[in-house]
């Protein structure tokens, strides 16, 4: 009897020990993530973005200051947290980058080709979209994520995003769920979040766009999706396409209610 109790206790100890080790590692990594967030250059990118927002450009020699990001022309506070959403003037659901592109074309008279010539920058110089994304996103600090979910097109986009998340295709027959769909998976030292579940999606949607310390580049959601597709050996998605916007809406809606923390800082 006593032997049974002892060995049961021993078994309990070893199983708790095994979990504790992984937990320790996770805690230390979380500490790293907190410390780098606390000492991040993102605010400098927001400053550059502010200058670009106010800069007169294009054939119409206009700034973006009258751009309506969903809360009214020129209203920046909280706008990012309410994206993606449906816009009547374009009759489509748009994420931040799609909307910025729309304003560059309509307010500034620029062409899509010119405005998207260099959408993804590098460590020496961010792209115009990246600076602007940092600035606009920064204006939603503390605001709860609340993408549009009432309009029929928003609901259709959510459904498309959800289906796409689980849809296997491409050279390797991968879907987002291949990496982000199963409990307990990781790549190297990174836990892979189950992005279709709110508790996993929330911290993710609250910290993009983000500065990547590993390559010193500032990346947006359009880049994140583009890169995931590249990793999965899919053809490259069109910038700010309906599909990428639908996926972003699905992810953001899954993480809704989470207070936005500001542009993130990640590994």
């Amino acid at each position: 009897m006593r032997l049974a109790r002892l060995s049961a206790a021993a078994a309990a100890l070893t199983s708790v020990g095994a979990i504790a080790l992984a937990q320790d590692t996770r805690k230390e990594i979380e500490k790293y993530q907190r410390m780098i967030s606390d000492a991040s250059p993102v605010e400098l990118f927001e400053l550059e973005g502010e200058a670009l927002w106010k800069k007169k450009q294009g054939p119409k020699n206009a700034s973006l200051e009258q751009c309506d990001l969903g809360l009214g022309a020129g209203v920046l506070k909280g706008a990012y947290a309410h994206l993606p959403r449906y816009f009547g003037d374009a009759d489509r659901v748009m994420d931040l980058e799609a909307r910025l592109l729309h304003c560059m074309i309509t307010l500034q008279g620029r062409t899509r080709d010119e405005a998207t010539k260099r959408v993804f920058g590098n460590e020496d110089k961010l792209s115009e979209m990246e600076y602007l994304s940092a600035y606009v996103a920064g204006q939603s600090r503390g605001v709860k994520m609340a993408p549009g979910m009432a309009h029929p097109k928003e609901q259709a986009a959510f459904e498309l995003g959800r289906k796409t998340f689980f849809y296997r295709a491409g050279a390797w027959d991968f879907s987002c769920a291949s990496c982000h769909g199963e409990e307990g998976k990781r790549i190297r030292m990174q836990d892979l979040p189950l992005l279709f579940k709110p508790e996993y999606a929330r911290p993710v949607v609250a910290t993009w766009p983000a500065y990547r310390v590993s390559n010193s580049q500032f990346k947006t959601m359009q880049w994140r999706l583009n890169n995931c597709y590249q990793q999965m050996r899919y053809p490259e998605p069109n910038y700010a396409s309906d599909l990428t916007v639908a996926l972003t809406l699905f992810l953001t809606a899954t993480g809704e209610g989470e207070p936005y923390r500001g542009p993130g800082t990640k590994r």
Partner: protein, 153 residues
């Protein structure tokens, strides 16, 4: 270099006169501007020798706050507080870096002996911190493991 030191250098002549004046220590004269020799040292021992800190004793009064695991070696945040009375400088080294000396902070009157800096680490290594206090050097160390996270994207 602060203004009073500069003035002493302008007025005085030889190194001996300066040392005798009691204002500058011999090792200060090496560090006129950026210390090429110390920053160019390729081993911890050489770096410490060049700073004049060889033989520093260990102390618990230097508190190093750094993550045990860094997801990437490009940015490793290191926060240092010295509780040693009269701390004049804090020096940060990464033992296994090709050039171990990373940063030196001199605290003139009006600055607390505290600093946070992001360092690059080439591999898992000890982060070694020295503090110069009361005319002597003291040392503390913290191990940081460097990993590479994620899918490469």
């Amino acid at each position: 270099m602060n203004q009073s030191r500069r003035k002493v250098l302008q007025r005085a002549g030889t190194a001996g006169a300066l040392a005798a004046a009691g204002v500058l220590r011999p090792q200060d004269l090496l560090a006129a501007g950026w210390n090429k020799d110390a920053f160019g040292a390729k081993t911890l021992a050489d770096a410490l020798k060049n700073i004049g800190a060889a033989g520093a004793g260990d102390t618990k009064d230097i508190v190093i706050e750094a993550p045990q695991i860094a997801e990437n070696g490009a940015v490793v945040p290191v926060e240092v507080t010295s509780n040693l009375p009269d701390t004049k400088s804090i020096i940060v080294l990464v033992e296994k870096n090709p050039f171990p000396l990373v940063a030196k902070f001199d605290f003139l009157e009006g600055a607390a002996p505290f600093v946070k800096v992001n360092v690059k680490m080439g591999e898992s290594s000890n982060v070694r911190v020295l503090a110069e206090a009361g005319g002597r050097y003291y040392s503390a160390v913290k191990e940081v493991k460097v990993t590479i996270g994620g899918c490469g994207g």
